[in-house]
Symmetry: C2
Subunit: 207 residues, 2 copies
């Protein structure tokens, strides 16, 4: 009877992080204990790009815009899951042209990345050509089930194309329980101003 499909990553010390970098793994430390302090409390240390998160232009662009005053309505809305699980390595324009993408869409790209909880150095990503196509289509946002929306692009062309077109980016989604269809997404990030990224909890409503 669960009407929510959780599309967020679990945050744990052993979770998948980008390129398996130790410094990207969340760390948990005991701040207080019942015996010593009368209550038990944990402190979390985490890179804001770990797990499911929103990327802001400041991540890639000098003095780019950041998380201040982020409008929650931009991510609490209809979204279209695109099934791209037949794609190997990279999503190109050709993979998207028959997907009935319309102006203003928020797309969630479901790939084979959702099938594993281990970091794959060859994860499926969005090519520059595909990003340019999405910019031309005038979409509002795009989410992907990888910890990066691109890789192997020294100048981060995919990020730059999307960010300069004010297209929102969500990374680190888990989409294995979704179908290719339209859902209502509920997604709330932590409320931190001035950031390059915000940790995000996101669910889809299963109707």
């Amino acid at each position: 009877m669960n009407k929510f499909i959780d599309i967020s990553m679990l945050i744990t010390p052993s979770m998948m992080v980008y390129k398996n970098k130790e410094e990207k793994k969340p760390m948990f430390s005991v701040a207080n204990t019942l015996n010593k302090n009368g209550s038990y409390e944990t402190t979390l240390t985490m890179n804001l790009h770990t797990g499911t998160h929103l990327d802001f232009p400041l991540h890639m662009i000098e003095k780019g815009s950041n998380s201040t005053n982020f409008n929650l309505h931009l991510i609490n809305r209809q979204v279209k899951v695109l099934d791209l699980t037949s794609v190997k390595e990279v999503i190109t324009q050709q993979d998207l042209v028959n997907k009935n993408i319309e102006q203003g869409d928020f797309l969630l790209l479901k790939t084979t990345n959702s099938q594993s909880e281990l970091f794959d150095f060859n994860f499926v990503y969005l090519s520059e050509s595909a990003a340019a196509y999405l910019v031309k289509k005038g979409i509002a946002g795009v989410g992907i089930d990888a910890l990066g929306i691109e890789r192997l692009q020294p100048d981060h062309q995919t990020h730059h194309l999307l960010m300069h077109a004010s297209i929102l980016i969500i990374e680190g989604l888990r989409l294995k329980d979704t179908l290719e269809k339209t859902y209502t997404m509920i997604a709330l990030p932590l409320s931190i101003p001035g950031m390059d990224a915000l940790p995000l909890r996101a669910v889809l409503i299963h109707e």
Copy 2:
């Protein structure tokens, strides 16, 4: 045209924290910079009881239950805001008896705490008698606009009464923009298993 009322605290280095303790303030450090690493990234270090958060029994009870498998439906539901802004210092059973509280309710206690962004050592809290009354009423959850649901109770009686009755507790709400009425709450915590608390973003739908 904003249909959400944000009832979460902003997370910043200078935000209000419990008893103004330095170790409760969130810390932000630069993990990567555009010049050195090609992208800008921030790392956050934060006590999980800082800002708006869900408390779990593990916080106060040896081997108490924790955040693992937390059911999001428990906090995505109708909630009743109670206007208790006339209460001085402590909410007692007397303040609640005429509030039409029903079994299964999720109550949000709006007090004068919502009127300031500075920590008040005399913040309004929920007395043991009021907690016992809520347990008797059979409520499902209670949120308050203070960083603690109690203070000055050496054995944490309010926490214990609520937790032993499996009543959910949300602390650190900001309720100044709400009225005494029923709202639909949308609330998503970070997805971290095994915790004594979870940082929470919560909004009410303004109909």
